[in-house]
């Protein structure tokens, strides 16, 4: 702080500091715009589509159609990461591949698109990080803040970085699911008989038309005999399957990518709601203590005394034909259920830090200034507990992912045709020791990887925000990931 030039005013707002020295910020913003524009249509398509979907649920669905058509319009616009720009579907006409990107083999065309998606995400995240560095170097008034130390500790925490990488990998897979798979869920999984494809018939040496549903019958993985399309292989119709096919002949990779979407949606949604409940209650109980605290303690104890997985099973059965279970094939119901079941865990994790910060002098000072309690909680207490919330939410999210897949494994919850990883494990159960081992093993490995990633990220954040806590993890936190009961 001593090094700051005396002429610079610490209280100068950020806008003035940007005006005084706009160079780096403008350059950074321009590049960011280019990066976003490359994929702009997708973002708008997704955003407008989501709004339209939300409006359609309201009575009378006001304006839903306008949003849906706007979303469709943007969906048609060309952009960088699209199946149209780098197509991997095509047929071999005896001498060369037709219809694929640059006439490459489908597997290379798909691989290029796959890698491009990750390269794009890596560049985008790298650029955002660079933006933070620029902000720190040029525009932040203070030379140093405690957050800097937290970030530096996280940067040298390799286990946590591994977790972050896995989480980014998983989120990218979910977000870009329609682009990243060799085919789309709509064509391959939901309505295979509504779409046609062309393939080269070697016997007649002609290019023929076939519905995708019929082609899927020929690409099934059934364990024995010729009926298997394993990992990194083609089926009889010239379609490439990076991790093989399901028993029904549908592409497993596409199934996994869209399954990641459902898992992530449920995980993030339920943790967001549970996080808001937990933070609010932690702040209120730490500020007022007494009766408020006792009531929340009793409620959270009661919720935690209910067998979580069994409660979810019961609720899934009872709400089976209810309209809530129709929203996103049951994902919405899961979000609400897991939010209601998991908030006590989150609340317990942030209660200690909230009580600690409630004792601080700055809270007393704010009180004596006559600041309103809501403002004190939001401004002077909440920032302190958010890190702890993140640690535990990341840990719990892994548990939620396991629980959701466990339920679809026993045939409850997310209904077909919406892909869910647990269902793939169930489908492939009897083929584990056969040549079609990929059906069960790969989704299971993926769940293990993703859950390990979230746990590692949680370890990393914990060590970063609270270096003294190293190794002093409580039994409660340790049990959370497995506590999904999956």
């Amino acid at each position: 702080m001593m090094e700051t030039e005396p002429t610079e005013d610490i209280d100068q707002p950020l806008r003035d500091r940007l005006k005084a020295h706009p160079g780096p910020a403008l350059l950074w913003g321009a590049v960011l715009c280019v990066l976003l524009l490359l994929e702009g249509p997708t973002y708008l398509d997704g955003l407008l589509g989501a709004i339209g979907y939300g409006l359609a649920l309201l009575p009378g669905s006001p304006g839903a159609e306008a949003f849906a058509s706007a979303s469709a319009f943007f969906g048609e616009l060309p952009h960088l990461l699209s199946r149209e720009l780098i197509p991997n579907r095509g047929y071999y006409d005896g001498s060369a591949w037709q219809g694929t990107f640059l006439g490459l083999e489908p597997k290379y065309a798909w691989l290029i698109r796959f890698l491009l998606v990750y390269a794009y995400v890596a560049v985008l995240l790298g650029w955002l990080w660079y933006g933070y560095v620029l902000f720190r170097r040029h525009y932040r008034a203070a030379d140093w803040t405690p957050t800097d130390d937290v970030i530096d500790r996280l940067r040298s925490h390799y286990w946590g970085l591994f977790g972050l990488a896995v989480v980014v990998f998983f989120i990218t897979m979910a977000a870009f699911a329609p682009v990243i798979g060799p085919t789309t869920a709509e064509e391959n999984i939901e309505g295979p008989y509504s779409y046609d494809m062309q393939y080269y018939n070697e016997d007649t040496e002609t290019v023929e038309n076939i519905t995708i549903g019929e082609a899927n019958l020929g690409s099934a993985s059934r364990g024995s005999g010729d009926s298997n399309v394993g990992i990194w292989s083609y089926d009889d119709f010239g379609r490439f399957h990076p991790v093989g096919t399901l028993v029904s002949g549908k592409d497993l990779f596409t199934f996994l990518a869209f399954g990641a979407r459902v898992s992530l949606f449920i995980g993030l949604g339920s943790m967001a709601i549970a996080g808001v409940i937990a933070t609010t209650l932690a702040l209120v109980t730490a500020y007022y203590k007494g009766v408020a605290d006792l009531i929340v303690v009793l409620t959270s104890d009661s919720v935690q005394a209910m067998p979580a997985l069994l409660l979810v099973i019961l609720a899934t059965v009872v709400f089976k034909n209810h309209w809530i279970a129709e929203l996103y094939n049951g994902a919405m119901l899961f979000i609400l259920l897991f939010a209601l079941i998991r908030w006590p865990g989150l609340w317990r994790a942030v209660r200690g830090p909230a009580l600690q910060v409630g004792e601080q002098e700055w809270v007393d000072a704010a009180k004596s200034y006559g600041q309103r309690p809501t403002v004190i909680m939001r401004k002077h207490m909440a920032p302190y507990i958010l890190g702890y919330l993140l640690v535990y939410a990341s840990l719990t999210l892994g548990g939620v992912i396991i629980s959701v897949s466990a339920l679809s494994f026993i045939g409850l919850g997310i209904t077909a045709p919406t892909p869910e990883w647990g269902r793939a494990i169930n489908i492939g159960q009897q083929y584990v020791a056969s040549q079609s081992w990929h059906i069960s093993l790969i989704p299971g490995l993926l769940i293990t990887l993703v859950v390990t990633g979230f746990n590692a990220l949680s370890d990393g954040i914990r060590d970063a925000i609270d270096p003294q806590s190293e190794g002093a993890e409580g039994g409660a936190a340790g049990a959370a990931a497995g506590g999904g009961g999956g």
Binding site: M306, P307, V317, H322, A433, S440, T448, A479, G486
Partner: protein, 346 residues
């Protein structure tokens, strides 16, 4: 506050917890969109049969009457009967016939988890930052992240096809057994047979034990990983504490140091982990029993839920809540004995 008052307070505080859980169960079953009568009969149930069941379950009574009936019956352990799974059988009979297998499974799950997890964790803690420590720690982390049901699927396949895969036959190892089946626990109901009819009885016991080991290993997997992690850190912390240094300085032999001064103190943080296992076991047993088709309470619950036997589901839910609350009290009690420093002002 004395230990007795503390425990009394603990018991009194558990009453609202039980009432809350049971009320939620009541609300879901009676107020949810699926009426129990419709669930029992399925979509094809005709109106008269539905009316009859509604009559017998008292679904037409005022809601508050239904609520007090429901709660009163459960608290007096009048647990009702099954409607679909085994129509007309009292729920108590069903539970008594299904429970032993789950208890047998849970027992072995805890034993295996403790028997493998704690020694591994202690070993890793005594040899920190060596290759075997990293190997054990990393293994524990991954092991914990694996979904139980997936592990169970893999284990079932590997064991039932071990002959082709490894040239070692698990099914005919020591005693002939199947992998996917319920263990026969008749011998435990009648332990005198171990003496009167040793040949047969011991074989049966061996069979029952061998059959339960794979599912128990799966069920205990999450807790095993946790126990390992906590065990490792506990040992590390104990090693660095002053009294261990003092003991070392006054010339206590390494053997006594490890067994007497380190292990016993390192066990304290493991107590909540071991009791917390119960929660995992209750949820996990549902999945593990499904994969290994063990006719236990977990499988009974899934079957009852899927087939719409809501009265039975409610009863099972109540018993699970009682079990969890009971285990919590036992845990707190164990704490006061093991670590007298624990404050009573909970």
């Amino acid at each position: 506050m004395s230990r007795a008052t503390y425990m009394l307070k603990r018991l009194v505080l558990s009453i609202p917890v039980i009432i809350f859980g049971t009320t939620v169960t009541f609300a879901i079953i009676r107020l949810g969109p699926l009426s129990p009568a419709a669930a029992i009969l399925g979509p094809q149930g005709d109106a008269r049969a539905i009316q009859q069941i509604e009559q017998r379950l008292g679904l037409n009574d005022p809601l508050w009457e239904q609520y007090f009936d429901f709660m009163g019956n459960l608290f007096l352990f009048d647990l009702g009967q099954s409607w679909v799974i085994n129509s007309g059988t009292p729920a108590v009979d069903l539970i008594i016939s299904y429970a032993p297998r789950t208890i047998w499974l849970g027992f072995w799950a805890v034993v295996i988890a403790i028997g493998i997890g704690i020694p591994l964790g202690f070993y890793a803690g005594l040899n920190p930052n060596t290759f075997s420590d990293y190997f054990a720690s990393f293994g524990g982390i991954v092991w914990r992240a694996m979904p139980n049901f997936w592990l169970a699927v893999i284990l079932v396949t590997v064991l039932s096809q071990s002959e082709q895969l490894f040239g070692f036959s698990w099914t005919s190892f020591i005693v002939e057994t199947n992998v996917v089946t319920s263990p026969n626990l008749a011998v435990l109901r009648n332990p005198t047979r171990l003496i009167t009819d040793p040949g047969q009885a011991w074989t049966n016991l061996a069979k029952a034990t061998k059959q339960i080991l794979p599912p128990a290993l799966v069920l205990g997997s999450a807790s095993m990983g946790t126990e390992m992690r906590i065990g490792r850190t506990a040992v590390l912390e104990t090693i660095n504490s002053k009294y261990v240094e003092t003991a070392k300085a006054k010339g206590v032999s390494p053997r006594v140091l490890v067994w007497k001064h380190i292990f016993r103190n390192a066990l304290i943080p493991l107590v909540p982990v071991i009791t917390a296992e119960a929660f995992i076991l209750i949820g996990g047993s549902v999945l593990v029993e499904t994969v290994f088709s063990i006719n236990g309470i977990g499988l009974l619950f899934v079957k009852a839920a899927k087939q719409g036997d809501l009265p039975l589901v409610g009863t099972l839910m109540y018993l699970f809540i009682l079990l969890i609350v009971g285990l919590n009290i036992v845990q707190d009690f164990a704490y006061t004995i093991i670590d007298p420093r624990v404050g009573y002002d909970a």
